[in-house]
C-alpha cells in the first residue's frame, strides 16, 4: 500500500487531469465513426439496429451540448446522428456505400470541428491564435495541430470517394477499409497535436499500424503484399529507433514534455552527449516517416505496391502528420541545439530534393514517379523546418496543405487510369490520353503543373512561401538547390504531359473509368489547387495567424 501512494498527497489520490474535450473533439468523431463502421461490418442487413441507437445517442449528446452553450459541436453531433440513420435508410441495400458515406460524413464533421476549434477556442476574438496545452500537457492546440487537422481531414474526405469504385474494381472493397482509414487519420491528427513524447509515439503507432494493413489491403496481389510487409518491417525498426531516441532524451532531461525538454536542453546540468545521441536517433526515426534521404528506401516500393487510393492518402496525409511532429520536435524540443541539427537537417533536405528529382527521371511507372516526387517535396517542406522561424513554421504547414491537394488530384487521375489497366500504370499508358479523355488529362496536367510549381497553381504558392522563409533565414544555397531540383523535376512532369497530348493514342485502348466518386474527389482537389494558387490569402492568413507554438 505504501508503494501505491503518490508522494505529497494525504488521501493517496493521484492528480486527475482536466479533460478538455474541445482539444480532441474531431478525433472523437472519427473514433466513434470507426467503431460504428466496424459494427456495420458485422451486422449484415440489419444495420438499422446499430444506426438508430447510435443516431439517438449522438442526437441526445448534441442536444445536451447545445444546452451547455456549445452550439457548434452540438449541431455537428446532431447532424452526424441524423446522417447515420439517413444513410442507412437511404442506401442500406448497398453496404459498401453505407460505409463510404458514413466515413465521409465523419471526416466532414471532423473538418468542421477543426475549424470550430480555431474560431471558438483558439482565436475567439479573431486574429492571432492563442496556443495552449491541455490534458495535463499532453495535447497542444496551436497552429501545427490546426493545420495538420485541416490537411488530414480534407485528405480523408477526398480519398474516400476517389477510392470507392477502385477498391470494388480490384475486388478488395472489404468493410474494414473505412474504419482503418479513419483510425489512421485519427493517429495523424493526434500526431499533429502531441505535446509530449508518449502521446507523440502512440499517435505515430496508431497511424502506422492502420497504414501497414491498408498497404497490404489487396492481399491477393503480390505487390500489395510486398508493400504492406516492407512498410511494416522498416516502419517497426524506425519506430524502435525513434523510441530509443526518446528514451535517451528522457534520460538526459528527465521529462517527457516537449516544451520542458526544450528548456532542459539549455541547462548546464543536462548531459549534452546523451541528448545529442537522442537527437540523432529521433532524426533517423522521424526522417523515415517523412521519407527524407537516406531514410527513404521504403517509399518507392510501398507507394507503388499499395492500392492507389492508399498511396494518395499516405502521400498527402502521412507526410503532413510526420512534418507536424518534426516541426514540434525541432522547433520546440531541440530549439537550444539548433547549432547542431540545423546544418544536418539542411544537408538532408538538399540531398532529398536532388535525389528525389534525379531518380524520378529514369522511372517508367507513374506511381513510382509520384513516389519519388513525394520524396523531393519532403525536401522542399524541410526548408521551412530548417528556417527555424515563425515564417518557416507557417510556410511548412501551408506547403503541406498545398502538396496534399495537388497530390490528391494527381493520384485521383492515376486511380481513374489504373481502373482501365487493371494494375500498374506505366508511362506509355498515358499515351494520347489528351484525345481519349481530355477532362482527365487536363486535371492531371493541372496537378503536374502544381507539383512542378508553375503559377497560378497551389504548388507555386506553397513553394514561394517556403522559399521566402528559407531566404529570410539565410539559407540561400538551400533555396537555390530547391529551385534547381524543381527545374529537374519539371522535366519529367513535362514528359508526362507530352505523353498525354503530343502522342497518338494506342489502338484499341479503352477510356479511363471515371465514376461519380472519382470525378467528385478529383474535381474538388483540382478546384482547390486553382483556388489556393489564385486566392492563397484566406488560408495563408490563417497559417500566419496560427504560427504560434504551444510551449
Amino acid at each position: 500500500m505504501i508503494l501505491a501512494q503518490a508522494p505529497g498527497s494525504a488521501s493517496g489520490m493521484l492528480p486527475t487531469p482536466d479533460v478538455a474535450w474541445s482539444s480532441f473533439a474531431p478525433e472523437l468523431v472519427l473514433v466513434v465513426a470507426a467503431l460504428l463502421l466496424l459494427m456495420f461490418a458485422i451486422t449484415e442487413g440489419r444495420q438499422l439496429l446499430v444506426a438508430i441507437p447510435t443516431g439517438l445517442l449522438a442526437g441526445a449528446a448534441g442536444v445536451w451540448l447545445v444546452t451547455q452553450g456549445r452550439v457548434a459541436p452540438g449541431a455537428v453531433a446532431i447532424a452526424l446522428g441524423a446522417a447515420t440513420v439517413a444513410i442507412v435508410v437511404g442506401v442500406g441495400e448497398r453496404p459498401p456505400l453505407v460505409q463510404a458515406f458514413t466515413a465521409g460524413a465523419a471526416a466532414l464533421g471532423a473538418l468542421v470541428l477543426s475549424f470550430w476549434q480555431y474560431v471558438a477556442v483558439m482565436a475567439p476574438d479573431g486574429g492571432t491564435a492563442t496556443a495552449s496545452t491541455l490534458l495535463g500537457g499532453s495535447v497542444a492546440m496551436d497552429g501545427i495541430s490546426l493545420f495538420t487537422r485541416i490537411t488530414v481531414y480534407l485528405t480523408t474526405l477526398l480519398v474516400i470517394p476517389i477510392g470507392y469504385g477502385y477498391l470494388q474494381d480490384r475486388g478488395v472493397d472489404r468493410p474494414e477499409f473505412e474504419p482503418l482509414l479513419l483510425l489512421s487519420a485519427t493517429g495523424m491528427a493526434l500526431l499533429g497535436a502531441a505535446a509530449d513524447l508518449i502521446t507523440l509515439f502512440i499517435a505515430l503507432e496508431i497511424l502506422s499500424i492502420a497504414l501497414y494493413i491498408l498497404c497490404g489491403f489487396a492481399r491477393r496481389d503480390r505487390r500489395s503484399q510486398e508493400s504492406g510487409l516492407k512498410y511494416f518491417l522498416t516502419g517497426s525498426v524506425a519506430s524502435a529507433i525513434l523510441l530509443y531516441g526518446m528514451a535517451l532524451l528522457y534520460v538526459s532531461t528527465g521529462t517527457l514534455d516537449l516544451g520542458a525538454i526544450g528548456t532542459a536542453l539549455g541547462l548546464v546540468t543536462t548531459s549534452e552527449r546523451v541528448a545529442v545521441l537522442g537527437l540523432a536517433l529521433v532524426t533517423a526515426g522521424i526522417g523515415f516517416k517523412i521519407a527524407l534521404v537516406p531514410f527513404h528506401l521504403w517509399t518507392p516500393d510501398v507507394y507503388q505496391g499499395a492500392p492507389t487510393n492508399v498511396t494518395a492518402f499516405m502521400a498527402a496525409a502521412t507526410k503532413a502528420a510526420g512534418f507536424a511532429a518534426v516541426l514540434r520536435l525541432y522547433l520546440l524540443a531541440f530549439g537550444r541545439l539548433e547549432d547542431l541539427w540545423v546544418p544536418i537537417v539542411a544537408g538532408l533536405a538538399a540531398v532529398t530534393m536532388i535525389y528525389g528529382a534525379v531518380v524520378a527521371l529514369v522511372q517508367r511507372d507513374v506511381k513510382r514517379i509520384l513516389a519519388f516526387s513525394s520524396i523531393a517535396h519532403a525536401g522542399y517542406a524541410t526548408i521551412g523546418v530548417v528556417a527555424n522561424s515563425d515564417a518557416g513554421l507557417s510556410g511548412t504547414l501551408w506547403y503541406l496543405l498545398t502538396y496534399a491537394v495537388t497530390t490528391l488530384a494527381a493520384f485521383g487521375c492515376v486511380v481513374a487510369i489504373e481502373r482501365r489497366r487493371r494494375g500498374e500504370v506505366a508511362l506509355v499508358d498515358l499515351r494520347g490520353l489528351g484525345r481519349t479523355s481530355p477532362a482527365l488529362a487536363g486535371i492531371l496536367t493541372l496537378a503536374l503543373l502544381s507539383l512542378a510549381g508553375i503559377p497560378p497553381t497551389a504548388g507555386f504558392a506553397g513553394k514561394l512561401v517556403v522559399f521566402q522563409a528559407g531566404i529570410a533565414a539565410g539559407f540561400e544555397w538551400l533555396v537555390v538547390i530547391g529551385v534547381v531540383s524543381s527545374v529537374i523535376a519539371a522535366f519529367f512532369y513535362l514528359r508526362l504531359m507530352g505523353m498525354m497530348f503530343l502522342e497518338d493514342p494506342v489502338e484499341g485502348t479503352e477510356v479511363p473509368v471515371v465514376s461519380t466518386g472519382v470525378s467528385f474527389g478529383v474535381a474538388i482537389a483540382a478546384a482547390l489547387v486553382i483556388y489556393l494558387g489564385v486566392q492563397p490569402g484566406v488560408l495563408l492568413t490563417l497559417a500566419d495567424n496560427a504560427a504560434v507554438l504551444a510551449r
Binding site: 508503494l3 501505491a4 488521501s11 489520490m13 486527475t16 482536466d18 467503431l35 458485422i42
Partner: protein, 130 residues
C-alpha cells in the same frame, strides 16, 4: 526517507522469500502425500494438451496468434482497471475531480470499445477453431 525506501524493498524481498518457502512446502507435502503411478502419457512433456511432436522449431498454427492477441488485449485492459478501481473509491466530483458516475461511464466506454473488438472477431469466425 532512505530507510523507508529500502524498507519497501525489504517488504518485497520478504514476500519473495515467503513465496519460495510456501511453494517448496506445498510441493513437498504434495510429493509425500500423493500415490506414485507413472505411465508413459504422464511422463511426457505437457504442452497445453497438444501432443509434443517434432522439434521446437515447427510451425505453429496461426490461430494461436489470434487467440493470444485477443487475450493480451483484455489482459492489458486489466492493467488499466486496477488503478481505476483504486481511484474510484475516493472520487467525489469536487475540486476538479470527475464524479464517480462519470468515471464509471468512462470505464464502461473503454471496456465497450474493447468488447466491440471481441464481438467483431467472434462474428468474423476468428474464435472458431475449425
Amino acid at each position: 526517507m532512505e530507510a523507508s525506501f529500502y524498507g519497501q524493498y525489504g517488504t518485497l524481498g520478504l514476500l519473495v522469500v515467503f513465496g519460495v518457502l510456501f511453494y517448496g512446502l506445498i510441493m513437498t507435502v504434495n510429493r509425500v502425500m500423493r500415490p506414485s503411478l507413472p505411465s508413459p502419457d504422464k511422463l511426457s512433456t505437457y504442452e497445453c494438451g497438444v501432443d509434443p511432436v517434432g522439434t521446437g522449431w515447427s510451425q505453429m498454427n496461426i490461430r494461436y496468434y489470434v487467440f493470444a492477441f485477443l487475450f493480451v488485449i483484455f489482459d492489458v485492459e486489466a492493467v488499466f482497471l486496477f488503478p481505476w478501481a483504486m481511484m474510484l473509491e475516493g472520487l467525489d466530483g469536487s475540486a476538479g475531480q470527475p464524479s464517480p458516475v462519470f468515471a464509471l461511464v468512462a470505464m464502461f466506454l473503454f471496456i465497450g470499445t474493447l468488447l466491440e473488438g471481441l464481438v467483431y472477431a467472434w462474428k468474423k469466425g476468428v474464435l472458431r477453431w475449425e
